[in-house]
Symmetry: C2
Subunit: 128 residues, 2 copies
């Protein structure tokens, strides 16, 4: 498979696939005579894996770590679970922050008339 087909199959932009190759995250299985990157099914699966993990908030470096575990038959599920639980904790933290942000902003927006007049509680609220 050439990069275009891979890009379609993994649902990632070609630029991103090339970038992942550059940083050694998912490298093509080889190159054809004309220099084109050649991928096979295994790489496509890894790319899908990375796309999903990224969408789950795993950083590229964590993806690298996870891919390592993914490929290592001797890995323990304990390692994987540890990373995942950390991520869950971070998500909960993030959600709490967003929650307080949301209520503050909602409060400000509610107290604002939103008319053509300059008097605006949102700005006063921000500048406290």
């Amino acid at each position: 498979m050439n990069i275009g087909a891979v890009s379609k199959a993994a649902e990632l932009p070609t630029k991103t696939v090339r970038y992942y190759a550059d940083i050694g995250l998912v490298v093509p299985s080889g190159r054809s005579q004309n220099g084109y990157r050649v991928y096979d099914e295994a790489e496509v699966r890894k790319l899908v894996f990375v796309r999903r993990a990224r969408s789950f908030g795993f950083s590229v470096d964590e993806c690298r770590e996870l891919l390592g575990l993914y490929q290592d038959d001797g890995r323990s599920s304990r390692d994987v679970k540890k990373i995942t639980l950390q991520r869950i904790a971070e998500i909960e933290q993030k959600m709490a922050e967003l929650q307080s942000l949301h209520s503050e902003l909602t409060h400000l927006a509610n107290s604002c008339l939103g008319d053509g007049r300059p008097n605006c509680p949102i700005l006063s609220g921000l500048s406290v």
Copy 2:
């Protein structure tokens, strides 16, 4: 006030204050003979405003826009409310994403034994 005092007053790192000066977001009111940036209360208020707005998820460019409104006595609260409501909608969107992420990851973590064996549903789940 020199940058150190401003930094303390506005609760922002000096690096950040300098950065904001560089990009023209909050510029010092002047320079002293020795070349030190000199700020007065108005700038400190703006910096506090920016810090809070940033913590609310407004981008630096949005802060610039808000600062413009903030300083413009002829502004309408409608403009400010519009930006704020957009931001609230984005936060809700983000929270929904985090929520689904959280339940998916929790599900995966729960189905993982977390022992020393290689069999790990988290990885299989990610690679679907």
